[in-house]
Every structure is written in C-alpha cells, then in structure tokens.
C-alpha cells in the first residue's frame, strides 16, 4: 500500500555486509543506453525475485509550497496509463501471486514487487510503462488526496509524539527541506492538484533519474536482456534532473521546544543534533557517528541504558540513533523516558551529564568491540533477506553512494578508533547543534 516512510522510525537504511564473511552476494551493475542504472543482487535460495525501481527524488526535492508532492505522486502512480488503466497493474501482480508496495523518503521514492522469477519481465513492462506513461484523471486525484489527508491524520494529527517529532525536525533544519515532513504539511497537501503532480512527474520520472534493482534468483545477463527489452525502450530525457538543496547555516542556537497535550500520560525527552551524513562527512566521521549511536543507545548494554536506567534509575528507557544514510547533513538522536517522579528537566540534566562524560566513561575498549560486532553482524543477517539486500543497494545508490562503498562499510566500521568516537562526540553532540523536545501533559 503506498506508504510514506516515517522518518522518525528510520534508522540507517544501509546495514550492508562484508564480503569476506558468508560469501556475500556477487553484486553486478551496468547502465542502459538511456541512462537507467541497473543493479543485480543474486539470491538463489528460492525461485523468487524482488524488483525495485528507485527514483533519485524524495520529499526534500518538493517545490516550495508543495510539501508532500513526492509522496502524493507516489500514491498517484497507481492510477494507470494509456496502455494499462487504473488498477490493472495491481490486479496483475495479485493474480500472479505477487506482492507490491511503494515508499517515499527524504531523498528517494521507490516502487517494488516480489514475484516468482518467471514474472519479472511482466513487472518490468508495467513499471517501464508508468515511468513516463502516467495518465491522471481529475476524478481520481481528489479521492486520492483525501486518502493522503487521512494518512496524515492517522500518523500525525491524532498523535502528539509524532507532532513533537515534526516540530523538532522543523526546528533543527532552519533552511534545509529535511525539516519538512515527508508526507507534507496539512495545509499544503490540501492544495496539491493534478497540475502539481504532473509537472513534478515530468521533471523527475525519467530513465536517467532511476535505478533498477533486481534481487533474487536471476543473473546479470538475463536482467540485462529483460531490462533492455522493457526499460530500454523508454525515451531518455537528455540529462538527469538537478536537485537544488539549500545548505544549513552553521548552527548557533540551542533550541528547546515542547508539545503539551492533554492526551499525553507518559512524558518523554527527545534530542536531535545536526550532524554530517555518510555523504557530507569528512574522513571516518560518519562511520564513527554510526558506531557512537550504537554504543550510546543500541539496547540494554549501551552506555545511556546502563547509566540512566540501570545505575541512576532516572529513566525507564534511553537510547540513540543516527540517520547516516542521507545526501545532506542529517540528524543524530538521543531519547529517554523518565522514571516515575523524575521531571523532564532533571532527566535532561542527567542526559547532559552522561554526554559530558563520554570520552572517559563511555568508550571502554570492550564496549567499542561489542558495538562493532553488532553492527557487522547486522550486515551478515541482512544477507538472509532478499528484500533487505535490494533496499540496501537501492537506497545507497539513490543517495549517490557506490556499490564499492556499500561493500566497504563493515571495514569502515572496524576502522573507527576511540579517538574518532571522542572526536565526533566533541564536535557534533554540542548544544549549538541541538534541539531538545519535551512531550508532556497539559490540563484537559
């Protein structure tokens, strides 16, 4: 079901794998004459393929005043073409015993089907057809906009915690569109129409702007043949559309915001820091932030959990995450749920105290080792899932990384030193780069 990927729940998309351990898939890639990039990830265990098409545009490319258009168009992509009227694609996928869906993120939009291998070409025909052949009747646009408005009501308008997440991102990114929700602001979704959708579609839905990922029981030669026969027939636009993203100014102000709502029975504390991403970081900074998030907040043996929950008892839960897989500067999050009777202000003080002690207290050698082991093991576990592999490669390429960079990721993690960890903490987890959010209750 067309689905807006909730940014707040997105951790790192890229949990890749190491080649030396467990073999790892022999990934290959090539580019069709019309500019479409193709990646093939073999997985021969079951006669099934995952077919994904990724577009290098996401909500951060929405034109000013049209927030939500990337996601709205993702919904509208199911409305049919001249060759295949509305619903036919889904009917065919279903009758072939396949599954399908789509999702929109900040930097990309993707569509996928999972089918028996012999149906791959049919999926490619339909997907290639809707790359440039979308037909939008006014009659389908209105109800679909209502669907998106209901989606937003479900995810955000009825949930104060989601409202705090939105408000914090909006405060963290003062200039960059990562501060705008993927699904869009309510009042701007209400004004999106057929013309907005079509003009956005014509700009971004081209072979040069897309990446085809096929994972499953198939080799590169066959994928090349099938894709040339289908996607290869789509006329190129001439060049890849340029993404124009404003850069964040150097942050200076620590920001504090609060959502107070009568529905809140359990207060929580959230903190965001503006940090480099895998694409903007220098040296090993991004790998170090990835590892730091795992050490500080990856489960019950993490530093925050031990410090705040086990030792001091000021929180019932605490953790951290880093959204490293982004084109532009991104967010690092720290969160904690106060114990009964502990105020958010006291909890915040405890969190800040723990953060200050990072170089001395948090970076013991065995804790570093444990975090590395867990991150690297994730990459092996991911090879058990065809869909995960397809997503890892698709998302990486969509933000401009290379297959080689995906492959190297475990080694990059292993290479991080204690000094690297202390360095990124010292430079990036600092008040001027932060937004602190309180979720609390008001009188009804």
């Amino acid at each position: 079901m067309p689905d807006a990927t909730g940014a707040a729940t997105l951790r790192t998309e890229a949990a890749p794998f190491r080649q030396t351990e467990g073999g790892g898939p022999q990934v290959s890639s090539f580019t069709l004459d019309n500019g479409l990039d193709v990646v093939v990830v073999p997985d021969r265990r079951v006669p099934v393929v995952t077919h994904m098409i990724w577009y290098r545009n996401g909500s951060a490319d929405d034109p000013v005043g049209q927030s939500g258009i990337a996601h709205f168009l993702e919904h509208l992509m199911f409305k049919g073409t001249n060759r295949h009227p509305a619903g036919e694609f889904s009917q065919v996928v279903s009758a072939l015993g396949g599954q399908e869906n789509a999702f929109t993120s900040f930097d990309y939009t993707a569509y996928f089907q999972r089918v028996a291998r012999e149906h791959l070409k049919t999926m490619m025909e339909f997907e290639a057809d809707r790359m440039t052949g979308l037909v939008l009747d006014e009659a389908v646009v209105g109800p679909e906009r209502d669907v998106v408005l209901e989606e937003r009501r479900m995810r955000v308008e009825t949930d104060p915690a989601a409202q705090l997440s939105e408000a914090m991102a909006a405060a963290l990114f003062v200039r960059h569109p990562y501060g705008t929700p993927i699904i869009g602001w309510m009042h701007e979704i209400e004004s999106l129409d057929r013309e907005h959708a079509l003009s956005y579609y014509r700009r971004f839905y081209t072979p040069e702007n897309a990446i085809l990922v096929v994972a499953g029981d198939i080799g590169p030669d066959e994928v090349r043949r099938l894709s040339e026969d289908t996607y290869g027939r789509v006329t190129p636009f001439g060049e890849r559309p340029i993404r124009r993203r404003p850069r964040e100014p150097e942050p200076r102000a620590a920001r504090h915001i609060e959502i107070a709502d009568p529905k809140v029975e359990q207060p929580t504390l959230q903190r965001l820091y503006l940090t480099p991403s895998s694409r903007t970081a220098q040296g090993r900074d991004s790998a170090a932030l990835e590892l730091l998030a795992e050490m500080l907040g990856g489960g019950p043996t993490s530093y925050f959990y031990r410090k705040l929950v086990m030792e001091r008892g000021v929180a019932v839960n605490a953790g951290a995450w880093y959204m490293g897989s982004s084109i532009d500067d991104t967010r690092f999050s720290v969160y904690a749920v106060p114990a009964e009777g502990v105020s958010l202000a006291d909890l915040e003080e405890a969190v800040d105290g723990a953060l200050k002690a990072i170089p001395a207290a948090a970076l013991e050698a065995d804790a570093v080792e444990r975090a590395k082991t867990r991150l690297v093991a994730e990459t092996i576990y991911s090879t058990d899932s065809q869909s995960s592999l397809a997503r890892i490669y698709g998302s990486a390429l969509a933000i401009g990384e290379t297959i080689e960079e995906v492959r190297r990721w475990p080694d990059d993690i292993e290479a991080v030193t204690r000094l690297d960890l202390a360095g990124v903490a010292e430079r990036f987890l600092v008040p001027p780069r932060s937004v602190t959010g309180y979720l609390c209750k008001t009188a009804a």
Partner: protein, 426 residues
C-alpha cells in the same frame, strides 16, 4: 487456472524435516547453508489467558523477564553475553502462548543455545529486574493510554469477550501491572515454560544430528508439563451494538467484528479466501476498493481472521475523519452484505486463489520468517505436511465452500462496532 498457480501447487515453498532428540524433544527443521546463521522459533502453549483474573499482564512481564538475568548471570551480564556475539533473543506473550525467537551466527551457536537454555530453565527474577521491567511496562501503557487505535482495540475486546480472559488487555493495565508479584511470575513460568509444551522450529546451517543433541541440551532441564486449565470457548458478543469512545481528535478509529472460524476448523481455508476477497491485505480487496480507492475515505482498511484457542472472529479496522464515520461504516456494512448475498464472481474467486497460492512462497524468504511460520503451523496442530498441502487446499475452494464460510462468518451481517474519536452524525 493460470500457469503460475499450477506451478505453485506442485512446489512446496520449503522442505521441512522432523528432528527427534534422544530425549524425546521434537523440532521441525529446514536446512540451509547459504547464510552462516541459525534461526530458531518457539511457542509455549499458555499465554495471557493464564494470567490471574485480577492481574492481567503477568504473561507479558514474564516474557520480558526471561532475558533479564538467568543462571549465574545478572541481567546486565546476560545482555552483555548476547551483545558481545550479536546474538538476538526475544520473547513475547500472546493470549494463548509465550513465544519468541533466537538468531545467531553459526560460530556462536553453542553460546546462543546455552543462553537460551538458561533463559528458559533458570530465569532469576531478581528484584531490581522485576522493578525495571514493571516500570518500563507501565511507561509503555501510559504512552499508549490515549492512542485512539489502542483505545479502540481495548474497548473492542472488552465488549467482544466480557468476563473472559480474551476480553482483558494482554499487557495488563497500569494498576494490574503495579500489582504483579514475583510469585505470580514464578508460578506462571513453572506452569508454561515446560517440556512438551513447546513447538520448536529451526532454520539454517545446522545438521539434524547436531540439532537433535542441541535440543536435549536446551529443553531437557525443563520440568514436564502438567495440563493447563483450558481456555473456555467463547463467541464474539455484542454484535449489532455500536460503542463510541470519546476523545478530542480529528480522525476516528473504527474497529468492527463478527464471527470467524478457527484455523483448525474445516471451513477455515474457505473463510480465509473469503476474507482475502473482502478485506485481505492487497490493493484488490473489496473494502480497499470501495472505502479507499473509490471514495478516499481512509488510508488503511481491511479485515483479518483472528484464531485463538477458545474463540475465532473476523476483525476489521479503518480510520476516517470524524465527519465521514457514518458513511464509512455504511459502505463497509453494505459490502459485507453484498458479498454474503451475491458471493464473489467466479473470476474474483479464481483471482483470489491464484494470489493466495502464488504468494505463499513469499512468506518463506528469510530464515526467521520460515522458522516463525513452522512454529505457528506446529502450534495450530496442522501437521508437518501442511506447508506442502496448503496450496492444494486453497485451490480446491468452491463457490459452495465460500457460501458456507460466508454464512458462518458474515452471517446475518450484524457487527460489533467500536469508534474512538469524535464522530459526527452517527
């Protein structure tokens, strides 16, 4: 029948073997060496329905405490052993079972199994761990206290199964969790985590002979199971009634339900096909088409069959803005009535069967998913050959079967409806 469906019929999605340990422990096993990991899933009969009447939430607290210290290891030491080897161990409690899974790299299998054995046989229930889990559980309940979806489900189950264990919240309430004692946890552990109670499935790079020995290591230490008090059979109550839970939000969450059929019922498969046509998880279902696609009333809408040990029902969900609740309910009721009266067209039925048979293999694409599927099939008592038989059962469903299933599920069309929000015009 399409070519795809015929092929799907002939091929079982996975080859399952039975492993019996020297000590008499049985597991279902799928051997796969491609990825160097082992996934294990388990289900112990006896879940939240076994909670003391006045203190729901014991089973869920028990599930959360099994990895909070066991044998010689305190909670922190136990978690550190898991984390140091990236072993993933989790437990959960449902109405009828406590289950969970283990995932490990092959080279850490021995350590993983030893930790699993300790978690099952020798959980410590240390006071500090109990208090920590209690505080986390209460915080979780408070966090969701005014979530419209959670509120709607809570009220729905209370109305559907009044005075019955299934009518109580599985996770308990703030008050009941506060009252759970260490004795409650120890007693439920002794009752449920016992030999002969567990269904076990193992997938990955392990030989049957090695698995047989491992099974004895892990499960031999457990006490023999004594019979559990059976869950009294129950039928969904309150059909034909509508309940509004008022809360100030712009969108109302709707839960609706009627009779269903249990997985063990001979008409389950026809009911499952019927449910797919009505509100199953594809863009093609009638409710998806009528509620979302044509009218834009909701983002998500659907139905599923709920099959418990003592009850079965058809359960539906959607959410729409307050002003359109009445319209949405009218569309849903009309579609259910129309499906019951006219049945699906032959083509619609065939397409549903094609989808369900063709897509079955997609649920067997990761080791963890396979292990969970197998443990579930074993738990339902459907037999080792079910996975091979299942597509033929679906393909054999006729219009007569569908009519019978519709009679037994949709029946007179009377629904129990719960709406949470501020609906207008109801």
């Amino acid at each position: 029948m399409s070519v795809a469906a015929m092929e799907a019929l002939s091929a079982s999605p996975t080859k399952v073997g039975r492993v019996l340990s020297p000590g008499g422990v049985e597991a279902w096993h799928v051997r796969s060496d491609v990825v160097p990991l082992v996934a294990l899933a388990f289900t112990f009969e006896g879940g939240a329905a076994q909670d003391p009447d006045e203190r729901p939430g014991v089973a869920q607290m028990l599930a959360r405490l099994l990895d909070e210290g066991a044998g010689p290891h305190t909670s922190d030491a136990f978690q550190e052993r898991l984390a140091a080897r990236a072993i993933e161990l989790s437990f959960n409690a449902g109405p009828d079972a406590i289950g969970g899974s283990l995932k490990t790299l092959v080279r850490h299998l021995d350590e993983a199994l030893e930790l699993l054995r300790l978690a099952f046989a020798e959980p410590r229930f240390d006071a500090d761990a109990i208090e920590r889990v209690r505080a986390q559980t209460i915080a979780g309940l408070r966090y969701q206290q005014n979530d419209p979806g959670v509120m709607a489900s809570r009220r729905f189950f209370a109305e559907a199964f009044p005075g019955h264990p299934y009518g109580r919240p599985t996770g308990g309430t703030v008050e009941s969790v506060a009252a759970v004692t260490r004795d409650d946890l120890v007693a439920l552990h002794a009752k449920v985590i016992a030999q002969g109670r567990a269904k076990i499935a193992v997938v990955g790079a392990i030989e049957p002979a090695a698995l047989a020995l491992a099974l004895d290591e892990v499960f031999r230490a457990l006490p023999q199971a004594a019979p559990l008090p059976p869950v009294p059979p129950a039928r969904i109550a309150g059909r034909g009634s509508q309940h509004v839970v008022e809360i100030d939000v712009p969108q109302s969450v709707i839960r609706f339900g009627t009779d269903g059929l249990s997985w063990r019922d001979p008409d389950f498969i026809p009911a499952y096909v019927l449910n797919h046509i009505l509100g199953g998880g594809a863009f093609t279902s009638r409710l998806f088409q009528e509620v979302r696609e044509k009218r834009g009333l909701a983002y998500s809408v659907g139905t599923s069959l709920v099959s418990y040990r003592g009850a079965a029902m058809t359960w539906g969900y959607t959410a729409t803005k307050n002003e359109r609740v009445a319209e949405t309910l009218a569309v849903i009721e009309a579609e259910m009535a129309r499906l019951k009266e006219e049945g699906p067209s032959d083509e619609e039925l065939q397409k549903a069967k094609d989808y369900l048979t063709g897509s079955y293999a997609l649920g067997f694409d990761t080791s963890t998913k396979i292990a969970h599927q197998l443990a579930q099939v074993a738990f339902e008592g459907l037999g080792l050959d079910y996975i091979a038989r299942r597509n033929a059962l679906v393909a054999a469903v006729t219009q007569d079967d569908i009519r019978r299933a519709a009679e037994r599920t949709i029946g007179d069309g009377q629904l129990l409806v719960v709406v949470t929000g501020h609906p207008t015009g109801l």
